[in-house]
Symmetry: C2
Subunit: 234 residues, 2 copies
DNA sequence: TGACCGGGTGTACATCGTATGCCTACGCTC
DNA sequence: GAGCGTAGGCATACGATGTACACCCGGTCA
């Protein structure tokens, strides 16, 4: 009865819920995604969502999963091209994550491994194995890449999220820049190299770091690190 | 009146609040740290905490800050020893973080840079600058290290936190291991190398990754990467 | 003496996730 | 068609959380 018009509202589904949640997070940030706000946007009562989603954790997992499901998959590259293929795969992931500012934090906080997440990890793993990397080295390389496989690295100097309101943070004294001459020096240097820019060039930093890592990996691979059976105590 | 004994309770202070919060997090996990639980443990009403802490974010910031303040600072090393000094500094941080399981997640989610955080970053920065790294290269190296400066890297394969209760996660189907042969292969290989072990050898993976990164950095430094003025378009 | 003020108290509110039970419409079998 | 299980949306309610706001008490200082 309270339902203004009993029109043929298309029924909910897990996919529709997840897509609505992603849209809401895109529009208003991840903190705006509460079961109540989400249900409201779908013209439905909050508890209705629980027919399609186990709980809020499952919702977040689903959001991350559908997002990562959108990441492009490359055609099988030639084994000699593994370096470029890895870079392309990771930069493709980076593009997807960059389009959804909430995704970085969401991926970091998720704990379970959903199919799309595993699929992305599997593709990268196959690139290394296909290039002749040993399973052992491949394993270590995946750890070495860490969250960089998702196309992001922690923001060391920038502040993610909104600007810290100036009225807050009164209890802990604001640190004095003069106490950190080294940081000040590299900040000034960066500023001089990119006049007018705010913050660091995250895209450059990411590609730089990825390059250093893949160079190191390539060197290990060439040195037949993989074929040495006994490398540590175990 | 409700205060059982009006004994001379030692007054609260920011330090006492933060130490109590850390102890609570150590004992029962970070989720147990609510303003109410914390106040209860201190024999005080919840709102009393707000006289020493701006809000819950400030509390978390303070916890991280005092924790990082405990990290050991090395004596100034000789410039030729920068690699070992960096490694020791980071492994020292790792030891502190490892002693407080909640710290990893807490550090990741914090956004503001508190004095102790900046101090740790400053010390590392100085190690590179002192070894003759250019400010530019030092800057990139700090980004390259990322969260690894805190002594942890994302857990790719393990599940942090409590075991996922088997009754949950019913909505999204559990993935079939057979769909991920590459991951399965490296997991089986790791299992064969360390029979009876559960999960990955995080300590080894961390040191391995740190070694690859520092090797790459050393090579860049030796190749006088820093002295090339024009390296990209900008 | 009286004003101030640092610090602890009490009450109250908005918001959140979600347990539980009900109600309705559809599709199945007999 | 009669009976009925089931999927999906609804209504209510509970406990927990962060924190705004007003108060009050004991000291210090003019």
């Amino acid at each position: 009865m309270p339902r203004g018009s009993a029109s043929a509202r298309e029924p909910l589904s897990r996919g529709r819920v997840l897509r609505a949640a992603i849209a809401l997070a895109d529009a208003e940030g991840i903190d705006a995604v509460s079961m109540r706000r989400l249900a409201e946007g779908l013209g439905v009562v909050p508890m209705a969502l629980y027919k399609h989603v186990a709980d809020k954790d499952d919702l977040l997992d689903g959001m991350v999963d559908t997002l990562i499901g959108d990441m492009p998959a490359l055609q099988a590259p030639r084994p000699t091209q593994w370096r470029g293929a890895v870079r392309d795969t990771i930069l493709g992931a980076r593009a997807v994550v960059a389009a959804h500012p909430w995704a970085r934090r969401a991926i970091e906080t998720r704990t379970v491994r959903t199919p799309a997440v595993l699929g992305h990890m599997e593709r990268l793993t196959q690139l290394f194995l296909g290039a002749g990397f040993s399973p052992d080295l491949t394993h270590h390389v995946m750890h070495l890449l860490g969250n960089r496989i998702w196309g992001f690295s922690p923001e060391l100097f920038n502040d993610p999220g909104g600007a810290p309101s100036p009225t807050k943070r009164r209890t802990s004294g604001t640190p004095d820049p003069q106490d950190y001459p080294g940081i000040l020096l590299i900040a000034a240097d960066a500023q001089a190299r990119r006049p007018g820019a705010v913050g660091c060039d995250e895209d450059f930093e990411f590609d730089f770091a990825l390059g250093v890592i893949l160079d190191g990996v390539a060197r290990l691979h060439r040195s037949k690190w993989a074929s040495d059976a006994a490398r540590d105590g175990g």
